[in-house]
């Protein structure tokens, strides 16, 4: 691998845990941990039934602060940030004027005038430039905080009890964030995740991450890599930027109209308003293959559209994925034919999410 790849502060821990490391968005990241014969399935199952921990320190952070921080974010982000209380979290999109999606991101309100937005690794530099370009005359500071935070996602039905046991105070509920001390280190604990399970995400100083990682593993969290993160998010029908979202796709066709509030006049709101009124030409649907086979990103759908994410669902044991299809063929139950490298695979449009966690 080229020496320019960035490493997180947990790199040595990954090597020790037997990680298979791959390049991801300029970072050297664990894709899975060697050991069992089917490591990805094991990691996936650990998160569905117990608790897993992901190093997602490659994700970026942008801090927006100052008297007009809110005005800036409300202009940039598709959702209505006035709905976010101090300590709250919200999912939203960054759009171009034409509605094309630049990134999907979580924003946390740390203080009245201080916000932290988590970006996708591959988009971070571009997002930051976009932030600065639009800050203009506003009285708001935009800071790149990517070097200041490591990020761990602790996910699964046992995640909260495990993290609670080493926290100095009760954990924040789902979709909220709070500063806590874990093992004596101060960090931002967020009741968020991208696996379809309960859990928390921890934003902390990179130097504090290895000790926390060790303790989480000692208490039974399974280290889990990007491959399991992908199968988990796909079963939960969460979008992956670069696959299911791009500048070529708008929020409405991606099924993300719920996180767009046009009346805030965010950049791209007029385009979104138009598509919402007229209806999109295509829609992103979840599908399951009917029979054997796995569809993959790029496989065309007979009659129009194509697969943007596809995998074998470890929980369901069948090929599943997300695909853009003509709007007239997006209803649940619609039968599709997917061209998987020349072989036609029948599939059915399914309800989202493809997998729902147990009670």
């Amino acid at each position: 691998m080229p020496t320019t790849l960035r490493r997180t502060s947990l790199y040595d821990r990954h090597v020790d845990a037997g990680a298979k490391l791959v390049e991801f968005a300029g970072w050297e990241m664990p894709v899975f941990y060697e050991g069992p014969p089917t490591p990805v399935r094991q990691e996936h199952t650990a998160v569905r039934t117990g608790v897993g921990v992901f190093d997602v320190s490659h994700m970026g952070e942008i801090e927006t602060s100052g008297p007009q921080a809110f005005e800036l974010l409300q202009r940039l982000i598709s959702n209505d940030l006035s709905k976010v209380p101090i300590g709250g979290a919200q999912y939203g999109l960054l759009c171009r004027e034409d509605g094309g999606v630049l990134d999907d991101l979580f924003t946390y309100r740390l203080e009245h005038d201080r916000w932290l937005t988590v970006t996708n690794a591959a988009n971070h530099a571009q997002d930051l430039a976009w932030w600065r370009e639009h800050a203009g005359d506003l009285d708001a500071q935009v800071e790149d905080r990517i070097e200041d935070y490591a990020m761990l996602a602790v996910q699964g039905p046992r995640a909260r009890e495990l993290v609670q046991a080493i926290s100095d105070a009760p954990l924040p509920p789902r979709m909220t964030a709070a500063t806590r001390r874990l093992l004596g280190a101060q960090m931002l604990v967020c009741g968020t995740g991208y696996t379809g399970e309960d859990g928390v995400e921890l934003l902390l100083a990179p130097a504090d991450a290895p000790a926390l990682w060790d303790e989480l593993l000692r208490r039974g969290a399974a280290p889990a890599g990007l491959a399991a993160r992908d199968t988990l998010r796909l079963e939960a029908c969460y979008h992956l930027y670069g696959n299911d979202l791009s500048t070529e796709r708008g929020p409405i066709e991606a099924g993300l109209g719920w996180c767009c509030v046009e009346d805030t006049h965010f950049i791209g709101s007029e385009a979104v308003r138009g598509v919402r009124a007229a209806g999109p030409r295509e829609r992103l649907v979840a599908f399951a293959i009917d029979g054997p086979g796995i569809a993959r990103q790029g496989n065309p759908i007979v009659g129009g559209g194509g697969v943007t994410s596809g995998t074998l669902s470890p929980s369901l044991g069948i090929g599943v994925g997300l695909a853009y299809v003509p709007s007239g063929r997006a209803a649940v139950g619609t039968r599709l034919q997917i061209d998987v490298r020349g072989k036609m695979r029948p599939a059915v449009v399914r309800e989202k999410p493809l997998y729902r966690k147990g009670p």
Binding site: F32, T38, P39, V40, R41, P292, G293, I294, T311, L312
Partner: protein, 137 residues
């Protein structure tokens, strides 16, 4: 995953396939059979195999041409025929659970058995030692 290794009783194709040529037997002693599979190196490079659809019985294989696909968590890879022939048996169990391809690539992870069309082709294959040296290029 299983331990790295390249058994001495197999022949190897540069596309990381192996062939075990069986004693000619049965009614047609002139047409030996071979069991085919992918090597330890191939399964390790692929990672966790999640899908293998055996080709139908009777499918004709041509040496150096792909005859099937193995699909891992992230990628799809062609399986190349180390020898020409006609499929006389397939490892049906792998359709349900392809894990043996990773766990036991030379045993329970075999893919197909073929009746060889041109047994002399085996002379173009490598022995274990030669194949192993190609992996350290």
């Amino acid at each position: 995953m299983s331990q790295a290794g390249y058994p001495d009783d197999l022949l190897y194709h540069p596309e990381h396939d192996w062939a075990r040529i069986e004693q000619a037997g049965g009614s047609d002693a002139s047409a030996p059979e071979a069991t085919l599979g992918i090597t330890w190196y191939a399964q390790d490079a692929l990672g966790e195999v999640v899908f293998f659809e055996p080709p139908p019985l009777g499918t004709t294989l041509t040496q150096d041409e792909p005859y099937a696909e193995v699909e891992s968590v992230k990628a799809v890879s062609d399986v190349v025929a180390p020898l020409s022939g006609e499929i006389v048996a397939v490892n049906e169990a792998l359709a349900e659970d392809p894990a043996p391809i990773n766990e036991d690539p030379y045993g329970a992870g075999w893919l197909v058995k073929v009746r060889l069309r041109n047994p002399a082709e085996s002379e173009s294959l490598m022995d274990a030692e030669t194949y192993a040296t190609t992996l350290h290029g």
